[in-house]
């Protein structure tokens, strides 16, 4: 199995930042007001296809015109940001979005930029991702050291090294496995002994699957998303798919969970410029409408556990229709319409309302997962 490495090396990124800084320096010295072009994530600049998810098509550039006051402020913020990223990269350090906001409170910076709201500094980081490009692809902010609070765990027979530099196996890192790195792009994968990976929306279900020994019995990895997955989790799933590990995602039956799955599968419009966040190969492993509402559905027996959708659930489902990655995806659109029709929703915990003894519950989980995998021609056991 192929062993990959990070997408861009830190020296490459540093080099790029320097190029931008020197270019800007030359421009102002020559007496020109700088003008910076970039592609935003408007619908014009994005394409969607079910096999690639959202992709940037770089159709209509936007410009920051340094002659305008507000744009000059943006450029000042950008120059300052780049200089901070440069320093952090040189020292192997990371920062959070909030850290960067506070860096703008350094007194001589604050006096000029007068930033009062983290939205402004977040925008500078987003802009940096769009301006720093190698071979037409945006550099994810994680690669210039700006990371979000990470979320999610992964358990299974897989050996890797993360920022700690140490080699570890994800079955030996505690009961939940490995806490996923804040910079999965740079994780080194050494060895893989799983036939598939199942990512579970809710921690409690993932824990149960681990407790019941399913990773060992089925030779699978179990990831716990802890709700809406973070960027680090989405990048990690992409990394696994790159290693040809079949990916299954197990979520609630609800319009929000369709969004969770679609973000994993297709990325989002806003972040479409960031490669490596979409996993179009990912399969929806459930819960699906047919599980409950088909007479032969595997969950038909616990159809009574479904709850009424709230107003905000229904609104979410209605909006889903206009999200290309849901509305234009055959399966997700069908699921979404079924929800809108039935106006009821289900949760992974519903397995508990079979009222089965644990031995039988384990069998139920196994048969559920293997059936779902079989639909997509993946054999587990």
């Amino acid at each position: 199995m192929a062993i990959d490495s990070s997408v861009h090396s830190t020296p490459d990124v540093l080099d790029l930042i320097n190029q931008v800084l020197f270019k800007l320096a030359d421009t102002v010295e020559e007496g020109e007001f700088p003008e910076i072009g970039y592609y935003n994530s408007s619908r014009k600049n994005i394409s969607y296809s079910s096999d690639q998810g959202y992709r940037p098509i770089d159709d209509t550039p936007s410009y920051i015109d340094g002659r305008k006051v507000e744009s000059a402020k943006t450029i000042a913020g950008l120059v300052y940001g780049l200089s901070r990223f440069k320093e952090h990269l040189e020292q192997g350090m990371s920062m959070s979005l909030r850290d960067f906001y506070y860096m703008n409170k350094v007194r001589h910076v604050q006096e000029v930029l007068r930033i009062s709201n983290q939205n402004e500094t977040n925008r500078i980081i987003n802009l940096s991702e769009r301006i720093l490009r190698i071979a037409g692809q945006s550099i994810p902010r994680e690669e210039f050291g700006v990371v979000s609070s990470p979320k999610g765990t992964f358990f299974g027979d897989l050996t890797l090294s993360d920022q700690s530099g140490k080699k570890l196996n994800c079955t030996n890192a505690g009961e939940y496995g490995w806490f996923i790195s804040s910079r999965p792009f740079e994780v080194k994968i050494h060895d893989i002994n799983i036939d598939a990976a199942v990512f579970v929306e809710k921690e409690a279900m993932a824990r149960n699957l681990i407790e019941l020994g399913l990773p060992e019995e089925l030779r699978i990895g179990i990831g716990s998303l802890f709700g809406q997955p973070g960027r680090n989790m989405r990048a990690w799933i992409r990394r696994l798919a790159d290693q040809e590990v079949p990916i299954f995602v197990l979520v609630d039956l609800s319009p929000w969970s369709l969004r969770i799955f679609s973000t994993i599968k297709s990325n989002s419009i806003e972040l479409s410029n960031i490669q490596g966040l979409a996993t179009p190969e990912a399969h929806l492993a459930g819960m699906t409408s047919t599980d409950f509402w088909n007479k032969r559905g595997m969950l038909h027996e616990i159809e009574h556990s479904l709850e009424l959708m709230t107003k905000s659930d229904i609104k979410c489902a209605q909006q889903n229709r206009n999200i290309p990655a849901i509305g234009q995806d055959e399966i997700l659109n069908k699921e979404n319409e079924a929800l809108l029709k039935k106006k009821r929703k289900g949760e992974l915990e519903a397995f508990k309302s079979f009222g089965l003894p644990l031995v039988e519950l384990k069998a139920k989980y196994k048969s559920y997962l293997t059936s779902k995998a079989a639909i997509h021609d993946v054999k587990i056991i």
Partner: protein, 510 residues
Amino acid sequence: MLTSRYSKPDVTELSISAWFYRNRTLAGFDNPARSLYVSIRELVENSLDACEGAGNLPDINVKLVSQNTSNERTGITSAPEIFQLSVQDNGSGIHQENITNLIGKMLTGTKFTYKQSRGTFGLGGSLALLYGQVTTQRPIEIVTGLRGEDYFTSILMRLDIERNEPEIVEESRIPKRQNDCGTTVTFYLQGDWLRSKRRIQEYFAQTSMIVPYSSIWFQTPDDKLIEYDRVIDTLPAQAKEVKPHPHGIDVELLKSMVSVTRTLSVASFLTSSFQRIGASTAKAFLTFAKVDADQKPRDLSNEALLDMMRAFSEYNRFSAPSAKALSPAEESVIHAGMMRLQPEFVTTTKRTPSVYEGHPFIIEAGVAYGGHLKNGINLYRFANRIPLLYDEGSDVSTRVIRNLNLKAYGLRPDNPLAFLVHICSTRVPYKTVGKEYIADVDAVRREVDLGLKDCLRRLSEQVRRRNRVQKNTKRESRLRGYYKFISETLGEATQRKIVLTNLFPAGDDE
């Protein structure tokens, strides 16, 4: 409480005065606070009318003096108190022989003509005087004199309520200079200053805005002198009396007109009694109405009058009613009035006359911005030069303002803004008996809307022009600041010295 109609034959007719006294709440005399406010207002408005009628720039001097000493029995000053109210004007004064009738009797006009005036129910100040007498039992003093005479007539009088007749208690003369003229009314009344103070002060403040050509002095019972000195020296042109328009009358008025006419044919009755009816219009109309032009007016039956009334309302070729009966304040006066608020900018407008139910009306509007104005939208409403102080929320102007898109004029609702709307008409379309707000009538709303929009358009230009200048200076300085920071940051990051002399050539200030 009065007893049932059908079962009690032992009742007799009351005089108008007596009836009014019993039902004084109808005219606003329903408690000491409100009575004090209404009394001052009625007398001040009479005085303003008197001055304007005489073509004199008004000088109105109002004194309200508390008569209370602390109550001897209980030692506590008990509300309501007794006040002496005196209102002095420099109007033409009153001819000696008319004094008692004009001041002391409940009268109403009967002439069949129209003209814009401040009056509300035609009660003028008489009801205020009646109220004062009833609550204090003290006589009323009138001092009045005409220009050219060398004395003021001073009369002390009482009103006989049961008979609706004034009684003179004392009469005397006071020497004066020939040029002096005007009337001073002094009387006593029960009131509650504490509870009416705010609205009385607000009344004077707003009145001073709509009559900026007047000087108004008000001495309060707290011994403060509130002064509004004249800020402009031109009086608006006087309104002319005009005959009724055929769309502005009803059957009952038509009957009365017929009963007093001396004309011998219906045709001449029409041309002599109405505006906008000349000989040819009369002929065309009578043909339309199928009425014999030569018939004697007095011979018209009730049915015939009813038919004629119906024909009036259906005949749509009369010219619109004349606006001569109106006396708008004029833009210069509105402008001066709004300057009392000490704003930064004022724009005003006067609309051309419009018509509502057979009566002409004119809308005048003003918008002021900045300066001493409070933040937010302040609305000042006037009808026939009277401030409207209550029920602002229901007024047509409030509705118009609520629907204005201030953003389109570069303004926000929290800017310091004052709006002024003045409607003058021979019949103001008040919505309720209280006459505190103007009905949301299409014709009126349209005019108010257009008037305010016109003002806003010009105001927004002024505000924008000033903002643009301020902004440009600020922008230049911010731009230099950003590039100084950019050059320093780039210098550190690239280990080079970055100079901006090419970017800002004349920039020795950086």
